[in-house]
Subunit: 223 residues, 2 copies
């Protein structure tokens, strides 16, 4: 059966680039593969589509995150789909790539049973020698995320429920890989219905208190 499968049907799987912010840097989660092929190498969390349990490709991606990272995905977006005979030594394979956004503290440090270990890497330089074509995948996912944020979508899924405008700005900067102008940035936010003040709540420090904000009812991460 295995050899006939190889000839007739491609292997379909989903991979997920899970992004998070760590110390004002954009990070992507890699897992060390527990099994062949590419055993021991670092890769995006991914897994084979199960027609009997998955109701959609996004479902597959959510299940992968649940099984390998033990996390419930909040926001998923499709990036692209890659296919070819040489991507995976097991034969013709199709991989549907997603990215996900999540605050760091919601991701458990311990990997799921199917994974050796997990590691957060700099999203712009996830390191050399990733498994399969996953270096390309990370680059594509980052480009897609950047594109959306360049178009003024607010990446609130990466932030805690309440946050200051400066935190939001630092997050945007981490994604874009460049600084943005404070005054112009805030000017834009003024007319943005996806953001609302939390009345009377402030972040305090050794300076003027900063107003806390939250996502408005029905917020979606769209440009």
């Amino acid at each position: 059966m295995s050899s006939s499968r190889k000839k007739l049907f491609p292997l379909v799987s989903a991979d997920v680039a899970l992004f998070s912010i760590e110390r004002e840097r954009l990070r992507v989660l890699l897992v060390q593969r527990a099994n062949v092929p590419e055993q021991g190498r670092w890769a995006l969390p991914g897994g084979v589509l199960k027609p009997d349990v998955d109701a959609s490709l996004e479902d597959t991606a959510r299940r992968i995150l649940r099984e390998k990272i033990r996390v419930e995905a909040p926001y998923l977006a499709q990036v692209a789909t890659y296919g070819g005979p040489d991507r995976d030594p097991r034969g013709w394979s199709v991989s549907v790539l997603f990215y996900a956004l999540l605050p760091l503290d919601q991701v458990p440090a311990i990997a799921g049973s199917k994974t050796e270990a997990v590691d957060w890497r700099d999203a712009a330089r996830p390191g050399p020698a990733l498994a399969f074509d996953h270096a390309q995948h990370v680059a594509a996912a980052l480009a897609k995320l950047r594109d959306k944020v360049e178009r003024h979508a607010l990446p609130l899924h990466l932030l805690p429920p309440k946050f200051t405008l400066t935190q939001l700005q630092r997050t945007v900067e981490a994604i874009l890989g460049r600084e943005v102008e404070k005054s112009a940035f805030r000017r834009r936010l003024k007319g943005d219905a996806t953001l609302e003040e939390v009345p009377g709540e402030f972040e305090r420090g050794v300076q003027r208190p900063a107003q806390l904000y939250r996502a408005s009812e029905g917020f979606v991460f769209e440009a």
Copy 2:
């Protein structure tokens, strides 16, 4: 085998929304399905991935166009991938959607052997009751194309090798579904390296002759 396939492996196929300009309108090509399922209904040209002959998903799409429409695809872009148990009565299916751009006169009027007939439909209203989820596919492909053109990519693949700025403007308007300002449009083109004059060549009519332009060396349809 068929029932075990149904349970274990999804059916993977590629669908293509082929866009063209007809009388200054953006059109999409539909084919009437010759076989079950959905026999006789109108759908995007599509077909099953063949691991033994296709070297990539884009290759699959090109082969589909060759077989069903008898046309060599010039430009293909991936739109998205759809998957689920109910899209196709044959079971869990995955469909990778592309769009293609081509001048009308390069598409033969007669369909390939695997197709009953072909028809050009208004891209924004391809008609009711398309097969499968292809109405959604057309909408998604159009949105992707519009997005790119909104971002000032020039859809030169839809035009003949030599064209006037007015023809280009009409094409952009057909895609966007709205008029654009002539003066602002031309102002933008001035600084666009993807476009160059054809020295001394003009389109003549009952008015001032119009300079002909062509795509620059190495043009790619990107924003």
